[in-house]
Assembly symmetry: C2
C-alpha cells in the first residue's frame, strides 16, 4: 500500500498512523453501541408492519393490544405531530419533505411498501410486545403495487401519492404520476456537440436496489419525562440531524430533544434518517417509561433506506482523436415510497472526471412501492458512473485508444465546469490518471485464460456544514477535545491529529470524544465525507485559540507583552530572553493558579470543500461454465487531498472497493410480484465476504485542497464510485460481454455469454 | 419567609424563583445517582475493615479469597501507587497529605480506627464478595486506642503516627505525639487587652464527633481498560478533586482518569474525599471488568469523614460599656486517624463577627483512633462559634446588655481585620444584626413556663477556585450551559439565572448540565459555598462572550460595524436604523447559515469572594422532668449578598438550621472504650426528623458583594454556624443552666439541671 505523499516531511502529526483513541474501548466492550443502553423500568418496543406493498389504511383498532396485561403503550401516526410539507435534508445531498419522513416513521393514510410501519407497541418484554402486535386489527384496502422504475413510470401505473401530478412535468393533461421530480443539467449546445462527434455510443444501464449492509441494526431508546423533555440514545450518522427530525415529528422545540450519540456499527449513508427514534419517544411519552427498540435484520432490509435502483441511458460523442464533444444522459431513480432519491449526486458527479463543453442530463425521481431510498456512500454517483465509465470503455475500445490516455486527454482540471455548473477548484483528476498509468498493476501481464482487466474513474464532490469543537487543557497537558461529529471511520483520531499538529503536541496527548446535542454546539452530519474537513478545520481553529491564550498566559507570567512570546514546537519562548522557555505541559500545569483553566473553541460552517477523484484497476476471471466472476486483483486509487491518517484513508478506500464488488456482482433486492422482498436476510442478500474479495491494494494521491488549512478533501465516498464500471469493463475484457445490468451474477453473466455465443 | 431585597427591581431573572431544571428528572427517577450505573459484566466490590481501633498490620493473606470461585480480584494497599507526602486540599479549607489519603483508602502498615479499610474483593455477586472477605486472613498486633482529644493529648498516650513528634511544637525533648499541628492567630496585644477589660469571662466547651448524615451512601463504579485509562462513575462534591486524588493514588496522569459526576444525594462537605473510587479502580484493573462498590450506612458512619469533636477554651474581656477589649481561645480538634481537621475554619471565622483589636487563638490538630475527619458545612466554624457566642451571651447577661446592642456595638465592618489577618471587604454583619432586632420574633412574648429564647451570630468566609463554562446556542434560541460544578443545592438553576440575566432571555431557555472531567475544563469543588459565586461568574463571562458574538453576527447581517449594534433585553438593535431589530431567538435560528454556530466560554479562577453572616433567634421549651428540649420557633437570618434564587437560599438556610438543631441536641458518636462506634445506624445516630423541628423561618439580608458582578456571596454554609450557641443560649434562658457540652441531650441536660438544683 504505497502512498504518494509529501505530507510526512511537512508535518509532524498529520500523515502519521497513530492507534485510534477509541480502539481499546471498542475491542474490550467498554464502548456502548446503540442497543447497549439499559435503563430502570425500560420497556421494549416493537413495530407492526404492513403485509401489503401498497394499501389504503381504512382503520386501525389497537384496543385489544392496549388491553394486553403486559402492554404499556400503543402508538400510531395519530400520536405524531402535524408536520409542514417542508424540504429537509435527510442524507448528504438527499432531500425530502419532513411530512414524508413522518409518514415513513408511522404510516398515516396509506401503506406504501411491505414493511411500512403501521403501529407500535411498548411492553414489559419483547415477547409480550410481539404478541401484542398480533392483537392490533388493521383494515387495509390492498392496491396494485409497482416495484421497479419502468413499471412505476408506465402509463396507467398505480399512483402512490395522489397529490403528485404531471403538472409542470410535461405538457399533457394533468394526471397522477409517480414521477416526483425532474432534475436537468445543461451545458453548451448538445446538438452541436453531437454533430462534431465522429463516434457516438449510446447504451442503457440498469441497477438494482442494494442495501448499505451495516452490521448494527437500527436501534433507539427514548425517555420522555412529564416536563416535555425527551432523551434519545441511538447510533446515527448525525445526532443533530436526528434531533431536528425528531423534534419536528414530535412537535417539540429542538432544545427539548437530547440525542446521545452511541457508537455506530456502520452507516454508509443509511443512518442519517430517523426511523425508530420518534416511535420510541412517543411510546415513552404514553407509557411514562423509557422504551427501547431494535430492528431485526429483516426489518433493516425491508424498512430502512437502501440505495435506489436506477435506469440510465447514456450517450457520448467523441472525435476520432478521442476528444469528448457531447454527453447526454437520461436517469430514472427509484426513490422508493416517498420522493427524494440520490439523483442529484449522480447528475452532479457522473461526468465530472471530464471536461465536457456540451452536455445534457435529465434525471427523474420516481416513487414506487419499496422502502424509501436513502443515501449510500457517494449517493447516486456509482450508478451514474457505471453508465458513463462503461460507455467510455466501449469508446476507447472502438477507437483503439488506451483508457488512461483518454482520461488524460479529456480529464477535468481547475476551472472546468461540472454538469451542475460549479467550476472545479484545484482537483486531482489528472494526477490520479497519471498514478494509474504509472502503477505496476496497469501493465502487469494477465496470466491465464478467461481473465480480463478493467479501469474506471469516479468523482465525489464532498460536503461541509456547521461544526463545533471545544478543547479544554488539563493540568497534565492533555487536551480534552469535545466534538459533535459522530466517528464512523476513525475521525476522532483524524480530528485530534489536526489539533495536535497546530499545538505541536503528540496526538496521544489529545483525548477526543463525541458529545451529545446538549453538550456541544450544532454539528452537521457525518456524511458527504465531511468530518475530517469541517471538524478538522474546527479543531484547527480551536487549537489556534488555545495557542493564543497560552501565549497571553506566558506573557503574563514573564511580565512581557504577548508579542514577545513565540509558540514553537509545543513550547513557549521569550523572543528576547532565551532563558525563558516553557513546554506546553509545563504551562498547562500552572493554568488554574495563574488566572484559570484554558479552553479553545470553534464553531464554524466552512466553505472551501474540495472534491475527490478515485480510480480502480481490476482483474477478474470469469468461469465460462457458471458465469461466476472472481476478482483476482484490485488496485484502488484516490486523491485524498492531504491524507491525515493514511491507514484510515486506505481503510475507506478498501471498504468502498469491497462494497463496490458486492454491488457489481452479487447484491440486489429480489422482489416478488406483489412487492415482497424475498431475500431479507444476510444469508440470502449476498454481500461479499473476505472469501469473495482479494486484498484491496490502495494508492493515495495527495493533491492538497487549498480550501482547508492542511489540504483535506474528504475520503469516505469516492471509493465506491468507480468499482461497478471497473468490474464490468474487466468482465468484458475477460468474457467479451458488456454487462449493462447489475448485479453481474453468475446467472446473468452466463445468460449474457450464451446469448452472445448464440449471436 | 420575608426577603429583604432590592434585587427584584434591579434584575429580571436574578431574584426570581423558577422551577429547577433538574427537578422533573429527579422526581421521576430519570436522574442517575451514584449507584444507578449498570455495566456489562459488572462486578461487586466489598471492603474488609479493621475490627481494631488501633493495630499494627503484620500480614495479610488473600490467597483463600482469591481461590473463591466467584472472586475476580482482591486488592490491598500494595496495589496502590507510592504517593509523595505532599499537602492536598481534601475539603474546603481542609488540607492533609496525599499519602494519608492513600493510607485511608487502604491501610498500609497500621489500622488506625475501627472500620479502616484493609483489603477489598471484587466478585460476581455482592454475596460472594462478602463471603470472600471472611477468607482474608489478617494478622494484627492490637494497640491501645485513644478516641477523644484529651486522651490523645495526654502524656504517655498511644501514638498513632510514629513520625509525628513534638519537634517544633514545644521546647521539651522530642517525643512522639498525636498533636499534628499548631495553628496560631494573633492580633494586637492580648495582655493589654485583658488589662483594659472590666469583665472577663472564660469558659470551656466540648463538642462530639458528628456526621453530615447525607442520605446517599458513598458509592463508586470503575472501569479500567488495558490501555491504562479508567472511568469512574460516582457522586461527589467535585469530580475534578476525585480525579486528582484518584490519579495520584493510582499512579496515573489526570487525563487518564475520567470521572463522571452522578447526581448526589447530599454531601455537606463529606463527599469531597476519595474513599471507594481508587479501590474500585484497582479491582477493575486486576479483574479486567467494571467494579461497583457501595457502602452500607454503618460503613458510612464508621469509615467516612465526620466533623471533628472539639475542645475549646474561650476567654473574652469587655469594658463595662460592653466593648470587647480582648479575646483568647484554645482549640483542640480531633482530626481522626490522620492529620488535618477543620481547625483553620474555626480560628479564621469564630471571632469574625466582631471588631477585636487584641486576640490570640491557639489551635491544635490532634489525631486519634477515629475515622479521618472531613469537612462539614462551614468546617470548624460552628464549634468555634458555640464557644464564642455562648461566652458573649453570658457577658451580655452579666452586663445586663441586650445581645443585639452588643453586636451593633462590637460588630465587624469593612476594613476590620479577621483573626487570620484578612481585612474584611464590604460585609453585612451590622445589617444582619439590625434585621434581627427589627424582626417581630425578637420582641415576641414567650408564652408559658420553661421557655427561653437565645440568639447567636456566625460567619463563614466562603471560597473560590477555578471554574469552566461552555454555553452553546441552539437554533431554537435555547442556550446549552455546560458547567463543571456539581449541583447539590440547585446551582444548575442559580448559575443559569446569571447567564439568562446577561442575555435577557428566560431562564427556562437555558438548559444547564454538569459535565464530566473529559468534557469540561477544570472546575474546583462544590464547597466553600462557592458555586453561585465562581461558576455564576463563569456563566456571566460566557454570556458576555455570546453577546459579543451575537453583536458581530448581527452587524455582519446588517452590513454594518459592530459598534452600530446594540444588545438590549434579549434583542439586537441597529443604533441608527430602528427598522433593524432581531430577537435572540431570531438570530439563533440563523447562526449555522451565517458563518456557524455560536458558543460562549469562560475559564476563570476569580478573586473577590465575600463572606456571609448568619444569625438565629431560637425559642425552646425544656421539659423539667426529662430534660428534653423542644425547639418552638426558629428564625434564621443570613446575608446572601444578592440572592440569585431566593427559594434555594432559604432552603440552604433551613437545612443549616436543622443540621444545627441535630448537632446541638441529639447527634454524637458514642464510642466504646476500645474505639467501637456503638450507634452506627440512623436508628441510633439521632438526626432530627420533621417531628423534631419547627418550620424554620428565614430572612435573607442582601448586602451585595462588590467582588461579583451580581453581588453574590455564597450561602451554603454560614447557616450552620450560629445554631449550636443560639440553642444553648435559649436553653439557658429556659432552664437556667449554661450547657457547655454537646449534644444537649435529655440526659445531659437533666443532669445539669439536677446539679444546679443541688447547688
Amino acid at each position: 500500500m504505497a502512498t504518494v505523499t509529501e505530507t510526512a516531511k511537512k508535518y509532524k502529526v498529520i500523515g502519521t498512523r497513530p492507534i485510534r483513541h477509541d480502539g481499546v474501548d471498542k475491542v474490550t466492550g467498554k464502548a456502548l453501541y446503540g442497543a447497549d443502553i439499559r435503563l430502570q423500568g425500560m420497556l421494549h418496543g416493537k413495530i407492526l408492519r404492513s403485509p401489503y406493498a401498497h394499501a389504503r389504511i381504512k382503520s386501525i383498532d389497537t384496543s385489544k393490544a392496549e388491553a394486553h396485561p403486559d402492554v404499556r403503550a400503543v402508538a400510531t401516526a395519530l400520536d405524531l405531530a402535524e408536520v409542514a410539507d417542508t424540504l429537509a435534508e435527510v442524507g448528504e445531498d438527499v432531500f425530502t419533505s419532513m411530512k414524508y419522513i413522518r409518514d415513513n416513521v408511522l404510516a398515516s393514510d396509506k401503506a406504501l411498501y411491505r414493511g411500512h410501519a403501521i403501529a407500535a407497541v411498548a411492553a414489559a418484554s419483547p415477547h409480550a410486545a410481539e404478541e401484542a402486535l398480533s392483537l392490533i386489527e388493521v383494515e387495509y384496502e390492498p392496491l396494485p403495487a409497482v416495484t421497479d422504475v419502468e413499471s412505476a413510470m408506465a402509463p396507467g401505473a398505480p399512483v402512490l401519492h395522489e397529490h403528485i401530478t404531471t403538472s409542470g412535468l410535461d405538457d399533457g393533461p394533468e394526471t397522477g404520476t409517480n414521477v416526483a421530480a425532474h432534475d436537468q443539467h445543461r451545458l453548451g449546445d448538445i446538438d452541436k456537440g453531437f454533430e462534431e462527434a465522429d463516434l457516438v455510443v449510446e447504451r442503457e444501464f440498469r441497477t438494482k436496489t442494494v442495501h448499505q449492509g451495516y452490521i448494527e441494526p437500527q436501534t433507539a431508546t427514548a425517555w420522555w419525562t412529564p416536563d416535555g423533555n425527551v432523551t434519545i440514545w441511538c447510533s446515527s450518522q448525525g445526532h443533530f440531524g436526528i434531533r431536528d427530525s425528531a423534534s419536528q415529528i414530535l412537535g417539540l422545540p429542538v432544545s427539548r430533544v437530547r440525542v446521545v450519540p452511541m457508537e455506530i456499527g456502520g452507516g454508509f449513508g443509511g443512518k442519517l434518517q430517523a426511523y425508530l427514534q420518534p416511535v420510541a419517544a412517543v411510546l415513552s411519552r404514553k407509557s411514562g417509561q423509557p422504551v427501547s427498540m431494535t430492528m431485526s435484520r429483516a426489518e433493516v432490509l425491508e424498512a430502512t433506506g437502501p440505495a435506489p435502483g436506477g435506469l440510465v441511458r447514456m450517450k457520448i460523442g467523441v472525435t476520432s482523436e478521442g476528444r469528448i464533444t457531447a454527453a447526454q444522459g437520461y436517469l430514472a431513480f427509484e426513490a422508493g415510497a416517498y420522493p427524494g432519491s440520490s439523483l442529484g449526486g449522480a447528475t452532479a458527479c457522473m461526468l465530472s472526471p471530464y471536461n465536457i463543453e456540451n452536455l445534457l442530463l435529465d434525471g427523474y425521481d420516481v416513487v414506487d412501492n419499496k422502502p424509501k431510498s436513502s443515501a449510500y456512500r457517494a449517493p447516486g454517483a456509482p450508478i451514474g458512473a457505471f453508465a458513463v465509465e462503461s460507455v467510455i470503455d466501449e469508446i476507447c475500445e472502438k477507437l483503439g485508444m488506451d483508457p488512461i490516455e483518454f482520461r488524460l486527454l479529456n480529464g477535468a482540471s481547475e476551472g472546468v465546469r461540472r454538469a451542475d455548473g460549479v467550476a472545479h477548484g484545484r482537483i486531482g483528476m489528472i494526477e490520479t490518471a497519471e498514478a494509474v498509468r504509472a502503477h505496476p498493476h496497469y501493465s502487469a501481464p494477465l496470466d491465464g485464460p478467461n481473465r480480463g482487466r478493467g479501469v474506471a474513474f469516479g468523482f465525489w464532490r464532498n460536503n461541509t456544514g456547521p461544526s463545533s469543537v471545544v478543547a479544554s487543557v488539563t493540568p497534565d497537558g492533555t487536551v480534552m477535545l469535545v466534538e459533535g461529529s459522530v466517528d464512523i471511520g476513525g475521525s476522532r483520531t483524524a480530528v485530534a491529529q489536526q489539533l495536535a499538529e497546530v499545538l505541536g503536541i503528540p496526538v496521544e496527548d489529545v483525548k477526543p470524544q463525541v458529545a451529545d446535542t446538549d453538550t456541544i454546539g450544532v454539528t452537521s452530519n457525518t456524511g458527504g465525507s465531511g468530518v475530517a474537513f469541517k471538524t478538522g478545520m474546527a479543531a484547527f481553529e480551536a487549537a489556534l485559540d488555545i495557542k493564543a491564550q497560552f501565549i497571553e498566559r506566558a506573557a503574563m507570567l514573564w511580565e512581557t507583552a504577548p508579542e514577545n512570546v513565540e509558540y514553537e514546537d509545543g513550547a513557549l519562548l521569550h523572543r528576547s530572553d532565551s532563558e525563558l522557555r516553557m513546554t506546553f505541559k509545563e504551562l498547562a500545569a500552572q493554568l488554574s493558579d495563574t488566572g484559570g483553566p484554558i479552553a479553545g473553541r470553534a464553531s464554524i460552517n466552512p466553505r472551501g470543500v474540495g472534491g475527490s477523484y478515485a480510480a480502480n484497476i481490476v482483474d477478474v476471471e470469469v468461469d465460462p461454465e457458471t458465469g461466476k466472476v472472481t476478482v483476482l486483483r484490485f488496485t484502488a486509487f484516490q486523491d485524498a487531498g492531504t491524507a491525515i491518517h493514511p491507514s484510515y484513508v486506505e481503510g475507506q478506500i478498501q471498504g468502498g472497493a469491497v462494497q463496490g464488488i458486492g454491488w457489481a456482482l452479487s447484491e440486489e433486492y429480489f422482489m416478488s410480484d406483489d412487492g415482497r422482498m424475498l431475500n431479507s436476510s444476510f444469508l440470502d442478500y449476498r454481500m461479499p465476504t473476505s472469501l469473495d474479495t482479494p486484498m484491496i491494494d490502495t494508492e493515495i494521491i495527495e493533491v492538497p485542497n487549498p480550501g482547508h488549512p492542511f489540504g483535506v478533501r474528504g475520503v469516505g465516498e469516492a471509493s465506491l464510485v468507480p468499482p461497478l464500471a471497473a468490474i464490468a469493463n474487466a468482465v468484458y475484457d475477460a468474457a467479451g460481454v458488456r454487462m449493462r445490468g447489475l448485479p453481474m451474477s453468475p446467472g446473468a453473466l452466463r445468460k449474457a455469454m450464451e446469448e452472445k455465443g448464440g449471436e
